[in-house]
């Protein structure tokens, strides 16, 4: 029996594990290795150990706003992802709360309406905003019909932020809804019987119990937002760039694979550290 079970296990586990090892684990490790190699100007790397990529990433540039332009892009990407997450939370939490309170039919309809954008192609959703904000787009066409001057809307930080929030909102609402829906409202009554006001009930009972949804939603919004490539390319015109653009550029036109790899490595380290800190802080708050 024991031997047969281990045969079954390797049959079940083997193919999937092989695929993940070959096409996920090894490529990820390869990027780490590449980041310590010399640049080959025709793409790829020269197999000599070098710290050039990392020294370039942290070299001080007096002309830049902060350390150097690469660090500025790092900071901008994380800052914008934070803004996006906060905006989604501020819109998404009350929305999920509202939906969870509706009668079953209304609730189903509204959830369905959140899910359609969730399943709609990201490019289509980003294009929708380009159509509105472009120089020959809806708003500017309308303005020129009224003989008013055109306003520059596309390729601005605002356009990128709108695109980021628009693309991420459903990813915040769905996990929030899932945890708010489970909430047991008799706890609110218990709080009222004990003399707590609505604010206290919300901060002491409701919020802590729906925290798993908040955590899931924030992670689902934050991580894709920092690494966004589509939104800053289409709504920022590449002029307002984020980490995604920088990575694509290094592996594309700039043909500096070690430098691109070093950016990816530092990016992943920061991301993992951020997620870890987030969960540690949250657990401590729960303990209090």
């Amino acid at each position: 029996m024991g031997k047969r079970r281990s045969v079954y296990l390797s049959f079940l586990l083997g193919p999937g594990a092989f695929w993940l090892l070959m096409f996920f684990v090894i490529p990820s490790l390869l990027v780490v290795v590449y980041s310590f190699m010399e640049r080959s100007s025709s793409g790829g790397v020269i197999w000599n150990f070098s710290l050039e990529a990392y020294t370039k990433l942290f070299a001080f540039d007096p002309d830049s706003l902060f350390v150097n332009d690469f660090v500025v892009i790092f900071l901008r990407s994380f800052w914008w992802a934070i803004l996006t997450t906060v905006a989604c939370l501020l819109i998404g939490y009350p929305l999920a709360f509202y939906i969870a309170q509706q009668k079953p039919f209304t609730r189903t309809v509204m959830l369905f309406m959140v899910m359609i954008p969730f399943w709609t192609n990201f490019l289509v959703r980003t294009y929708a905003w380009k159509f509105i904000l472009n120089n020959n787009g809806l708003i500017n066409t309308f303005l020129s019909e009224l003989s008013l001057p055109r306003v520059p809307l596309i390729n601005t930080p605002t356009a990128v932020l709108i695109g980021l929030v628009y693309g991420s909102l459903p990813f915040m609402v769905l996990p929030l809804y899932a945890s708010i829906e489970k909430f047991d409202y008799t706890l609110v009554e218990a709080g009222q019987d004990l003399g707590a006001n609505y604010f206290r009930i919300f901060t002491r009972v409701f919020l802590p119990l729906t925290m798993p949804g908040v955590a899931a939603g924030c992670i689902l919004v934050f991580i894709p937002a920092v690494g966004q490539y589509v939104v800053p390319t289409i709504l920022g015109g590449g002029k307002v760039s984020m980490l995604g653009n920088l990575l694509a550029q290094q592996f594309g036109a700039a043909l500096n694979w070690p430098f691109g790899s070093a950016i990816a490595v530092i990016f992943m380290i920061l991301l993992m550290a951020g997620v870890l800190i987030y969960f540690t802080v949250e657990r401590e708050e729960e303990a209090i």
Binding site: Y8, L9, L12, L13, P15, G16, L20, F23, F24, V25, P27, S28, L30, V31, G43, G44, I91, L95, F97, Y98, I99, K103, M110, M113, V114, P117, F118, W119, T120, N121, L123, V124, R125, T126, Y127, A128, F131, N134, N136, G137, T141, Y166, L169, T186, V188, Q192, Y198, V226, G227, Q228, Y229, V230, T233, I234, G244, F251, S261, A264, F267, M268
Partner: protein
């Protein structure tokens, strides 16, 4: 009063014992305003989510080359799509990629899910973590690492087999399919594992007590019970594969243009009524997919 009326009555005013609704107490001024704000936020959210999509759809019927100025109703942009060879071939490439990636990843993902839920083995916890990574790692990072990997691997194969330049292996649809399977296995495994966890293990044990071997137990008991989960996972894999732009962008090559790749290069240039028409069709496709996933969900419940 019939039972139905009674039920309707309880729907419109939930009983106090129903834990699903907030208790209905005489609202203070603060509460009334809170409710109004919630309503305003809901309306704002749905307008925010839908207005851009609606505008997009409306202007796909606009009889004008100037994309954003309404000149009258037409179907011409849809007609032009059907004769646009680049778009038609990109569409079929997308279907080929999505169907192959879904088939492979559904089989591998389901097998992985069963191994994780029904077996104990060394490094199971570690593997569990690795299995979640493709879901968490940003697609751009996965894209560039696969780009680096395929460049190296194909180079090695071409050198080892001494293939001449014109018949050398290059990135294309195959590398895209491989990449899509790599991220889809995890998604399928997560969905199938939930359905494996949900059903009663006693059913499997009962079948084995009655003399069924492991294969028969799987075929007659486990598989039918987790089928909705497998289909749900497959549907998710299909959607993710069909919609993927970033990972495809970094793993594709000549002859491997999928619909999102084609659409991206058009969007990047400018806005046009043709893109509005393609977008509308893609939107319709996603509505069909949501409906399919919702009906699956209902069957699972």
């Amino acid at each position: 009063m019939t039972v139905q009326q009674a039920q309707e009555g309880s729907l419109s005013r939930p009983a106090v014992t129903d834990t699903h609704y907030p208790p209905q107490r005489a609202g203070s001024l603060l509460l009334t305003w809170g409710k109004r704000l919630l309503w305003v936020n809901m309306v704002f959210s749905f307008v925010f989510l839908y207005a851009p999509i609606l505008v997009l759809v409306i202007f796909s019927f606009n009889n004008s080359r100037f994309a954003a100025k309404w000149e009258g109703f037409t179907f011409q942009w849809y007609g032009q799509l059907l004769t646009n060879e680049a778009i038609i071939s990109a569409f079929w490439n997308s279907i080929i990629v999505a169907v192959s990636a879904t088939l492979i990843s559904t089989v591998l993902g389901t097998m992985t899910a069963i191994a994780m839920e029904r077996f104990r083995f060394p490094f199971r916890k570690t593997y569990d973590g690795i299995l979640y990574l493709p879901v968490i790692v940003p697609d751009i990072v996965m894209g560039i690492s696969l780009l680096a990997f395929f460049a190296l691997a194909l180079d090695w194969i071409n050198t080892a087999l001494a293939l001449p330049v014109d018949s050398a292996l290059r990135p294309g649809l195959t590398t895209v399919i491989i990449a899509h399977v790599a991220f889809n296995i995890s998604f399928v495994a997560i969905v199938v594992r939930t359905s494996l966890r949900d059903f009663n293990k006693a059913l499997e044990e009962a079948a084995q007590d009655l003399g069924a071997n492991e294969w028969i137990t799987f075929r007659r008991i486990t598989l039918p019970l987790i089928m909705p989960g497998i289909l749900g996972g497959a549907l998710l894999a299909f959607t993710l594969s069909l919609d993927d732009f970033v990972i495809t962008f970094f793993t594709t090559g000549p002859g491997g243009t999928t619909l999102p790749i084609d659409v991206f290069s058009r969007i990047r240039r400018s806005i046009s009524p043709e893109i509005n028409a393609i977008s509308t069709l893609m939107l319709l496709m996603s509505i069909v997919l949501v409906m399919a996933s919702q009906s699956l969900q209902r069957r699972r419940d």
